[in-house]
Symmetry: C3
Subunit: 263 residues, 3 copies
């Protein structure tokens, strides 16, 4: 894994990342992508998502504030992205909390076949196991409790699964990458998981290995969280400093902070 | 009123607060709830709001960026919440500014019967009196000019009414609580009223007295504003510091700053 | 051009600016307007936009996250604003990136006849020339490459065209104003162009010259960017300091920083 090289690639190429995402995080996701060096575009209308996919380098689908009309756009955009051959990242926000979300995630897995699924432990478990383990959009499980489900999901759908938590797990059904970067303040800021999904899109746009791209995004997100914790006094200033950190991140920070293990 | 005890309850229990709210404030409301110690979920689809209510500890309905489709979800969610017996907070943003908003607020009062209505003076007046006193979503009245309307509203609908302004009024038709916390910068930051409504939902989730819950939220919101004013240089940094303050608030800050009078 | 006088007018009058804008920037646009001294209202429902226009002093239409339902509201609100005689600002976000956006912008130009169109160079070019020059919502052109298109657009539709970039151009088909304020960090923060459009609405509400209003907004936006750059360490804190700067801006800052040339 050469996280720093891929950060430089993003900064050099500025990949266009198309986000069909939730209302809560749109501003922060766009800012995180810009701070990292990518170009965000948010577009959800059924009349234009295929044209947006046509100019984009990756697609991120996030179901955080779902409604019927948006689901059809997600399917259409996702299928266009697969036909074009650009990576598709799916963030199953709140999967397991409602039947609409669980059914939508399963439908997107079947009809879009995303390259990477990134969620918290409860969300990933609920895709595979019929349970309502989530506390709304927050996880009620540690990531190790989702390892089996993540591997099953990866094998069944031929995708990479990225499970965020205190230790992030990134699996493809064969390898397991554990990313130990991050900070306890991160779950106290809304949408940092969604932001990690957006960053995953940017990394997938510059690296054909979905496994590496997913892991790189978790490393960078975790390091940005560590850097932010040193420059903030609460979750409000943490959110701001997190964006600054993505912009300020350099080879030295990545080198000294990165904590990754591979099985 | 034991505001500090209820802050500790929120931090211990982490109540799930379901928000059907406006696009402008979703990120800040979610962050304010997380900073205080509650768990936010934003969901508006008619297909899932009843399931979200089923796992939630309070429901906050905010009409800030209203449209027809959302109104039906608000009604459905509100009725599900009443059946389940969890508190419902209604924020009548911009009531009086358009007939859609006024009619929707009155319909929600009749069909949902919220436990707490929290708005500014012009909004509360316009529910009871046929006037267009608001300046868009900002108040054109002091809170004392809304006392009579608030009390009439509280008696007619058997709810608590929380009127925010320089001095906040919280009434149930018998008692009047005046909260003198806050800072003049607060109306210069968008959505701090909406945030107060979200916090009201968190307090109502841990205290069966709607009167106390509504007052606690105004105290905490006001104190956070005072703390933010000491760590910021304008409305941008105030918004950030306000979130930090909710997270940093301790018994000492609450004890020394709280300014509440009860009739 | 008397930028400082118009800032004072905004602070004294607090004009109500109605925004039909995109989900990404709603919070920041509202905060920018409040920080400057104006009053924002965000409303998009076809059932109420005409009533919101009726109480507003300017209308800003921004197509950043477009969908069919919103287009009809934009047309209705725009026509109501023209009948009432208040200024209409159009921000053609992503024009040229999809045919929905290009067609919608052209329809709004014909059916609403906005007083001011404010976009980046690629967006302005794509209205006039059939090209897909934009990189999503970011510009692929310098502003001078859009001068001819801007002038053609201004003449054809009798409007002022404001092209933002390193040097902003404001044209009415006869005069050309060049605003050299700003900072390289500005394109790294999402929605600062959209914010400039919102500010344009506030300036147009207090000055009948659309040319001066458009130029004043670019001066103030650029100066706020310069001030923010001196108080921030990355795009996250820049976004926060930009709002602070709009609030803190005084005669001295405007006088010493303003860099405007008129042909």
């Amino acid at each position: 894994m050469q996280t720093w090289i891929d950060i430089q690639r993003i900064r050099a190429k500025g990949p266009l990342v198309h986000n069909i995402t939730n209302y809560v995080v749109m501003n922060n996701s766009a800012n995180a992508l810009l701070a990292l060096g990518a170009s965000p575009i948010m577009a959800h209308a059924i009349d234009e998502v295929d044209e947006v996919v046509a100019i984009s380098d990756a697609l991120v689908i996030n179901i955080g504030t779902l409604s019927r009309a948006w689901i059809e756009s997600m399917i259409l955009a996702g299928q266009a992205a697969r036909r074009k051959g650009i990576p598709v990242v799916l963030d199953p926000v709140g999967c397991g909390a409602t039947s609409l979300r669980t059914a939508t995630v399963r439908r997107l897995l079947d009809e879009v076949r995303p390259s990477i699924v990134r969620g918290n432990a409860s969300e990933i478990r609920s895709i595979v196991i019929d349970e309502r383990g989530a506390k709304g959009v927050d996880s009620a499980h540690g990531t190790d409790e989702a390892l089996e489900a993540a591997e099953a999901l990866a094998r069944r759908h031929g995708c990479v699964v990225s499970v965020s938590g205190e230790t992030d797990l990134v699996v493809d059904g064969k390898s397991v990458i554990r990313v130990r970067n991050g900070h306890p303040m991160m779950p106290r800021v809304t949408g940092l998981g969604c932001t990690a999904s957006a960053l995953t899109g940017a990394f997938a746009a510059v690296n054909p290995s979905a496994l590496e791209a997913a892991a790189n995004a978790m490393v960078v997100s975790g390091i940005a969280g560590e850097m932010a914790s040193e420059r903030s006094s609460g979750p409000g200033s943490f959110q701001v400093s997190f964006i600054d950190a993505l912009y300020l991140m350099n080879e030295d920070e990545v080198g000294k902070r990165m904590r990754v293990e591979m099985d």
